[in-house]
Amino acid sequence: MAELTYRDALNAAMCQEMDRDDSVFLMGEEVAEYDGAYKVSRGMLARYGDRRVVDSPISELGFAGLCVGAATAGLRPICEFMTFNFSFLALDQVINNAAKMFYMSNGQISVPIVFRGPTGAALQLSAQHSQACETYYVHAPGVKLVTPATPADAKGLLAAAIRDDDPVAVMEGELLYNVRGEVPDEEYVIPLGVADLKRSGGDVSIITHGKMVHVALQAATMLARDGIEADVLDLRSIRPLDVDAILETVARTNRAVYLEEGWPFAGVGAQIVALIQEEAFDDLDAPVMRVTQADVPMPYAKNLEQLAKPGARGVVEACRRVL
């Protein structure tokens, strides 16, 4: 175990997979000579050369589609979006091509591709650069999605995503790149579809994913001061979804709050709430609450941004309402 930043853990995962499989390559804006807009690919150009670490033009639709095409021919591209905000330009390639090719071709053409980059808000980047993109990706059958919250999860989930035979979106967080944590040195792969109970409480379940795991843990600490012990369940993988883990924590606490960075309408939380009421209705002692970004585009002004973002206080409030 070494202590690594989340950024270096992602780098370690890509190197781990590129070392073992020549069909894996990295393409995106600024990934090579610039060492990555967020330095996630630092040193990789020197290590693998420009055949496998490739600076693309600023053409999200184009290079995402090129990577999808390369995947249909059996390569395993890692397609980096500088942020997932920019990937909206590429959504036709993600949804209409990557997600559907295997089905339309009756299982003849698979698309083993990874789309990765940061999702969600950072600090005062305002509306177009501060949005959680998870829903856009998981809405379509054919895509998988993981959202690592810790350096160890970043390494293990990205490695699994690269090995997976389907399109997998790996959504990171700009504010997570500097987070440090213990990461296994050896080859490390976390299977998709396995949630992780990041904190065991028993009074209420805070279910969440990605960057919000840290907010949830903060809220749990605040609640603990008042003697309320919360489960914090990190889904890690939104699709496939660890339904058993969700039902398990709800069965234990009978109360649940979903916390996410995205908007409420048709968000990830909406799906989880639907699932809980469909499959664990009898376990519930209170309605399931959601804590989300305010239902507005992200404002720039510091105070408004603060108001729009989901935070620990809001989670504590929601937990109190279900208790």
């Binding site: 390559f25 055949r51 693309s56 033009p57 053409s59 639709l61 184009g62 290079f63 995402a64 589609g65 090129l66 990577c67 999808v68 095409g69 390369a70 995947a71 249909t72 021919a73 059996g74 390569l75 036709d92 390639q93 209409n96 091509n97 090719m101 295997f102 089905y103 339309m104 071709s105 009756n106 299982g107 003849q108 053409i109 698979s110 698309v111 083993p112 059958p141 054919g142 998988k144 997976d164 035979d165 389907d166 299977p191 998709l192 579809g193 396995v194 993988s237 699709r239 496939p240 979804l241 660890d242 339904v243 799906q271 699932l275 469909e278």
Partner: protein
């Protein structure tokens, strides 16, 4: 020359049709532009097959055997035969939704293509794709794509994979004339030029994007569209199958040899409406315009007349050839009609290539994945990933 034409002849007669004119081993060579009589008959029979196939599809559509969108290629067969028949079996071809004849030209059987149009289990996409999504990577046919221009970056990616592996295939990426107004086209051309990808981008320029004349929505001539990226532009008469064939035969070898990406403006004309819901001439082109193209620009008539004028084709031979391809299409329709609908239990098959051991992939409570009901295990086998476009046969 004889050697080259022999090789070419064997490629031309290598299709799935049961061979139109193979009776004479001692056929004279260099008859028309270096094509042997057999090769010429082969190309004519190919185009006739495509024509009759789509006429059959048209009939089947009218009686409700085929549903959804159905875009006929009738009038443009010279391109399918001329651009695809010279390729190697492992050269990937990708196109948009007007894809029936390209699919057959690349090696999908009329039976498998027709069964797909019928939405049946023996279709080349198992009934999951339909008219717009014919696929068979084993013969190098990579689809069948429904979003205008959406297949162009995929074509670039197929070229990328060839270059990445150091292979020598050539990707031929078709599109309609309207697709060049999509960003996907511009972005793909730029990347192809930067990385010198072995891709031939072919515009099937039938003058209309649906009902909009190209000249109304383009600031430049078609030939000017690739110049900004330093990609050579070529114009070919797609109604002349011999010219088209020679052009692509030569171009494929040049690109194989490292010439880099190419842009081809293939002039052609669609004899039917945009789709089955659009009448033949519609509101955007006159009956006279369509009729004059049918009379003067039919690739099949052009080749037929040329062969007859050179005494290389008799009326009896033509009739026999036509009867043969009609029988093939009749058989394809019967086969399709007899083929079962896909098994309902397979609804969730092939959504994912890998059903993960943990977690739920389907959220509707029906396709449960592992331990569930209808998930369908890790499916598909090696077809897509292992072989990639092509497989190992050579034409």
């Amino acid at each position: 020359m004889p050697q080259a034409t022999k090789e070419m002849e064997s490629r031309v007669s290598n299709g799935d049709r049961s061979g139109a004119a193979e009776e004479q081993d001692d056929a004279p060579v260099d008859i028309i532009e270096g094509f042997t009589r057999d090769a010429l008959h082969g190309l004519l029979a190919d185009m006739l097959l495509y024509r009759r196939f789509e006429e059959k599809a048209e009939e089947a559509y009218a009686i409700g055997k085929i549903g959804g969108f159905c875009h006929l290629h009738i009038g443009q067969e010279g391109l399918a035969a001329g651009a695809i028949r010279p390729l190697r079996a492992d050269d990937p071809v990708i196109t948009a939704y007007r894809d029936h004849t390209q699919a057959i030209a690349k090696g999908i059987t009329p039976r498998a293509a027709m069964a797909e149009l019928y939405g049946r289990v023996d279709g080349c996409s198992g009934g999951r794709g339909g008219s717009m999504h014919l696929f068979d990577p084993a013969v190098g046919f990579m689809g069948g794509h429904g979003i205008v221009g959406g297949q162009i970056p995929i074509g670039a990616g197929l070229g990328w994979a060839i270059r990445y592996r150091g292979d020598d295939q050539v990707c031929v990426c078709f599109m309609g004339d309207a697709a060049v107004n999509q960003g996907a086209f511009l972005e793909s051309l730029n990347m192809s030029a930067i990385w010198q990808l072995p891709v031939i981008y072919v515009v099937e320029n039938n003058e209309y994007g649906m009902g909009t004349a190209f000249s109304r929505v383009s600031a430049t001539e078609m030939e000017a569209r690739s110049g900004a990226y330093g990609i050579p532009a070529h114009t070919v008469n797609g109604q002349d199958v011999l010219e088209t064939y020679r052009f692509f035969e030569d171009m494929a070898e040049r690109v194989r040899g490292g010439a880099g990406p190419q842009f081809v403006n293939a002039e052609t004309y669609r004899f039917r409406g945009h789709s089955m819901s659009d009448p033949v001439s519609g509101t955007y082109r006159s009956k006279e315009e369509v009729e004059s193209h049918v009379q003067e620009q039919d690739p099949i008539r052009i080749l037929r007349d040329r062969l007859m004028a050179a005494d290389l084709l008799t009326q009896a031979e033509l009739e026999a050839m036509d009867a043969e391809v009609r029988a093939v299409c009749e058989d394809a329709a019967e086969f399709a009609d007899a083929s079962p609908l896909p098994d309902p239990s397979t609804l969730y098959d092939h959504v994912y290539a890998e059903i993960n051991e943990h977690g739920r992939l389907f959220l509707d409570g029906r396709g449960q994945g592992p331990g569930g009901t209808a998930g369908g295990g890790p499916a598909g086998g090696p077809g897509g990933t292992a072989g990639g476009p092509g497989g190992d046969t050579h034409g």
